[in-house]
């Protein structure tokens, strides 16, 4: 009789629990998507720090324009702007699949001081670059604290988010991206580098130089203020001259 009870629990109650958990995860995902969908566009004054091994870029200040679903531009009043490739994009809206998606409950994890619910989202279509997104959600505030997005062509993008006064509408005060970057190499015969006497070419180093290794790069964006849902013309996002 006891065995029968145990079997009953295993066969019926556990799947019920799993279904309930998945339903919760689905609901959580939909609620968060809904919160993200509130923001149709925004203009924000931002400070950007690029920390990629081969890039020496000073901290950049500018205006970041966003228009749903995927338009984004950093304007530096005549200066050069550097953003991760368009296909990567830098908003939660784009890193979290829209439309049909399978949501899997992955338990709870601690992100800093916040206990977060972890869900995995698999897009329902293979037309998108995203294969899988893992989201750490602060359930009490319905905010994504961290995401990990595996893409087909752009490696894995990790994103940490910090919220402040715009948390109500799901907009972060600071985003830190961790992106996969390839090593950068140009022939010395073309660039005619000034030899600073610190890197002698050795035969042992040569095979390493040939490989296109991937490394992690970090991009930090601090949002100083937002102007939300005031409408932005598509002309703003037109490509500037190179």
């Amino acid at each position: 009789m006891r065995m029968f009870r145990l079997l009953f629990v295993l066969l019926f109650l556990l799947p019920v629990q799993l279904i309930a958990a998945t339903a919760d995860a689905n609901l959580l995902f939909l609620q968060m998507r809904q919160k993200l969908d509130y923001v149709k566009d925004y203009v924000a004054d931002v400070k950007m720090k690029v920390d990629v091994t081969f890039m020496k870029v000073p901290p950049l200040h500018g205006k970041l324009y966003f228009k749903a679903p995927d338009k984004m531009k950093l304007d530096r009043s005549g200066g050069i702007s550097i953003m991760p490739r368009k296909s990567i994009s830098m908003t939660l809206n784009n890193l979290i699949p829209s439309g049909d998606a399978t949501v899997i409950d992955a338990g709870y994890e601690q992100v800093g001081a916040v206990r977060t619910k972890v869900i995995k989202v698999v897009p329902g279509t293979d037309q998108t670059d995203i294969i899988l997104t893992k989201i750490w959600i602060d359930e009490s505030r319905m905010l994504a604290m961290r995401t990990e997005t595996t893409t087909r062509d752009n490696g894995t993008i990790n994103m940490d988010l910090v919220y402040g006064k715009y948390a109500e509408i799901g907009l972060p005060d600071k985003i830190t991206f961790f992106v996969d970057v390839k090593e950068f190499k140009l022939p010395k015969g073309v660039t005619m580098d000034y030899d600073q006497g610190n890197k002698p070419a050795t035969a042992a180093a040569a095979p390493e130089a040939g490989k296109q290794k991937r490394k992690k790069g970090k991009i930090e964006i601090t949002y100083l203020n937002y102007v939300v849902n005031k409408g932005i013309s598509d002309d703003v996002f037109r490509d500037d001259k190179k």
Binding site: P58, S81, I82, R85, L186, K188, M192
Partner: protein, 276 residues
């Protein structure tokens, strides 16, 4: 005496050929960049462009000037040699050197005046390059942040942080060209016609430039001692952070070469049997 030397230099049509060549090369590069600069930039930035989206006026006057300076890397020393290589040998060729030495001036002073004349010509050449290269490029392409592509790095400099770098780079280039002028003057002291020292200076600069750029361990031993390795020290000002120590070292090497060349010229010329 210096005034007379300058009169001689600037009376010759050959002197102005250098200014014309610099103007022509600069115009050609600027025209090419105006017409097809975007495809050039796409090619140059393809390594970074795969991963990052770069927007704005990338092809601005600062970058075009950098490209001009880069392509004139070998040419300017040759133009300097045109005048400095002719300084003593030209006089010998015309048969005026002996006449010149009948004046109550020491041979050392004559060499130094010839060197000073070549130096002034070199400075004017660089000022002209700054005017047509930097000045005109800024008018044609506007200003903006500058991208400097190194073999293993992508350096971006903010607009307000560039002009001083050009000033410093032109200052350093003047030092580098001074050493070339000293070399040409030295070779000029050995010859009795100007073609020899001019061609010899060109040959030495071309060979040393090739050696400086060959990435072979064998040449790494001699690279730190080559004039041409240090002549491109001006590029250091477009790095971030600026490698001041390396630039200072290069400046000292160039200065040492200049002093050495001029000293040997004076010593040799003092003992030279002047026959023409």
């Amino acid at each position: 005496m210096l005034r007379l030397e300058l009169y001689k230099i600037f009376r010759r049509p050959r002197t102005y050929i250098s200014f014309a060549i610099i103007t022509a090369i600069t115009f050609v590069i600027q025209l090419a960049m105006l017409v097809d600069g975007s495809s050039f930039m796409d090619f140059a930035l393809q390594g970074v462009g795969e991963q990052f989206d770069i927007q704005g006026n990338v092809l601005n006057g600062y970058l075009v000037t950098y490209l001009i300076l880069q392509s004139l890397l070998i040419h300017i020393p040759l133009l300097v040699a045109l005048v400095a290589g002719d300084a003593l040998a030209g006089e010998a060729n015309l048969g005026t050197l002996r006449l010149l030495l009948t004046k109550p001036v020491s041979r050392a002073k004559l060499v130094l005046v010839k060197f000073a004349g070549s130096l002034l010509y070199t400075l004017l050449l660089l000022i002209w390059l700054a005017v047509v290269g930097l000045g005109l490029s800024l008018i044609l392409f506007g200003d903006g942040d500058m991208i400097n592509l190194k073999s293993d790095a992508f350096v971006m400099l903010l607009r307000d942080d560039i002009m001083w770098r050009y000033m410093a780079a032109f200052g350093f280039a003047a030092l580098a060209m001074t050493s070339v002028a000293a070399l040409a003057l030295l070779l000029s002291a050995f010859a009795d016609n100007s073609i020899g020292p001019i061609i010899s200076t060109m040959g030495i600069i071309v060979v040393l430039t090739i050696l400086s750029n060959l990435e072979l361990p064998l040449f790494n031993i001699i690279k730190p001692y080559l004039l041409t390795t240090h002549m491109i020290g001006w590029k250091g000002f477009f790095d971030d952070p600026v490698p001041y120590e390396a630039i200072q070292h290069s400046a000292i090497v160039l200065l040492a070469y200049t002093i050495l060349f001029v000293a040997i010229t004076v010593l040799y010329f003092n003992k030279k049997d002047i026959k023409s």
